[in-house]
């Protein structure tokens, strides 16, 4: 083969390689964006759950001891959120900032404060207590969904980032490897 045809072949190979790299990078970017979106959804619903718990505690529909425990756990959760907001960026590095234990604790207190009988009574009474309970449940369901979808997305990113083309060409840049978020998010009173 002549030099010209060698050059043509080389250029073609380079073009294909370039296309493949940019395609892989775009795919990875899309996955990172999905994780980010899922994490901010989780963040938003965790906040809503804590707010609804506070509301329930202050509704006067549950006993003061349970209410106090609930206020303590919910404000702990909200404090952690606020604390992070003053730093540059809540989602920096795409992790949950170690809030898992706080959220598990809130779930535990919700279970303790809302056994099946208590939830039934609250529903039967109606009024602000029932409305707050409904909001706690709605937020709780969304926390569950958001956490599940987030973890799915994280696993996809982890899989793609372990591919050789991604590691050799450093397609992930300086983005931290996202981690799954694990805490107890079972729904109370069901």
């Amino acid at each position: 083969m002549t030099l010209i045809s060698w050059i043509v072949v080389a250029v073609c190979v380079l073009l294909v390689l370039a296309w493949y790299l940019s395609y892989s990078a775009a795919r990875l970017d899309r996955l990172h964006a999905k994780v980010e979106g899922a994490l901010s959804a989780l963040d938003a619903h965790v906040v809503r759950r804590a707010e609804a718990s506070l509301e329930l505690a202050n509704s006067g529909a549950i006993d003061p001891a349970s209410g106090f425990l609930l206020v303590a756990a919910a404000s702990e959760s909200l404090e952690r959120v606020n604390e992070r907001t003053f730093e540059a960026d809540l989602l920096e590095g795409q992790h949950f900032a170690g809030r898992e234990t706080v959220e598990s604790a809130l779930t535990e207190v919700l279970h303790a404060a809302l056994p099946v009988e208590v939830s039934r009574d609250l529903e039967a009474q109606g009024g602000p207590g029932a409305a707050a309970l409904e909001r706690v449940r709605e937020a709780g369901l969304r926390v569950q969904l958001a956490r599940r979808f987030h973890n799915e997305a994280v696993k996809e990113v982890q899989r793609v980032r372990s591919k050789r083309v991604v590691t050799i060409f450093r397609l992930a840049g300086y983005a931290d490897l996202p981690r799954t978020v694990e805490f107890d998010d079972t729904l109370p009173g069901t």
Binding site: R27, S40, A41, D89, R142, A146, E156, G173
Partner: protein
Amino acid sequence: MKIGLVSPYSFDVPGGVQFHIRDLAEYLIQHGHEASVLAPADEGTDLPRYVVPAGRAVPIRYNGSTARLLFGPVAAAKVGRWLDEGDFDVVHIHEPLAPSLSLLALWAATRPVVATFHTSNVRSRVMQAAYPLLRPSLEKIHGRIAVSEDARRTVTTHIGGDAVVIPNGVDTAAFARASKDPRWSGAPGRPTIVFLGRIDEPRKGLPVLSAAMPAILDAVPGARLLVVGPGSAEAARARLSEPVLAATEFLGALSDEDKASALASADLYIAPHTGGESFGIVLVEAMAAGAPVLASDLAAFQRVLDGGRTGMAGALFANESPHDLAARAVELLGDPTRLHALSELGRERARVFDWAVVAKEILAVYDTVAGGSRQREVTRLRPGADRRRGGEHT
């Protein structure tokens, strides 16, 4: 919220997936959302006004049978236009792996995607071969829903990852409203047993029930068996012995209202299905109407009946065993308190499958995935937000 729903199957022919999409779209519209359904359909077919026809489906061999699917560049362009014009907050794709509009929509989607997996019947060899092709598209799904545990297992084994189980909705209110009909109600010593399903389809289990009837009649001589469902009664009659024949009434196919009141009147509903049921809508309908349920112990049935902390909302017998079926039925018919308790538990359990409950959960999924991308615009306003990702490749 603006929601785009994609159906892989034509609305000209009835089917579970199409009914699900139709009911969901109507619920969404009733509750103040905007919904548009993209589905294959012939030009000029009479469609609900929220359905956008995407063109004529072509019959083609796929997955071991002939399916009517829509694909090709013209369909792909149509999907792209629909997505652009719709400007949806969430695109909800049904059966994302069906090589039809669903796969095309997944390929073209730029908005958050929710996908519902309906089938539990996927050829694993096909999936393995097509996997590298499909994987990047599948990664676009933000939230996965499976309609049953079986469908979920298909997702975990063939695609990897997990899905949230949200069952198919049933209009339980229509069954709960049904009133008793004196023709089909039992009297002391003359309880009524109801069977529902095609008479000539053995997997609906009429042969098992027929074989159990002599033993049931020995213990409860006055029992009446009401057989509701289409199919030729002649063949079924020929299999029955004289005393069983005398106790059996073939009602044929009934209207939805009559079916509901037959269930509401029944002292006991028996579901002797021998297999092939992935969900068990029929049990939900019976429970909603307040009929105490005795069902074969298929995995799908157990899951429908099992209310977790509230306990089993129906009784079970060993599948395909007329002997066990008869023993359980006699036991139940002799215990009115237990029958009453089962009826109450069943009504309670059926509520979980009501459209209102199911649609709320689907909306929660929409909220979660749409919330994620809306939230992003807010977080971008924070200082330093734009250096969050490595970003050098963008």
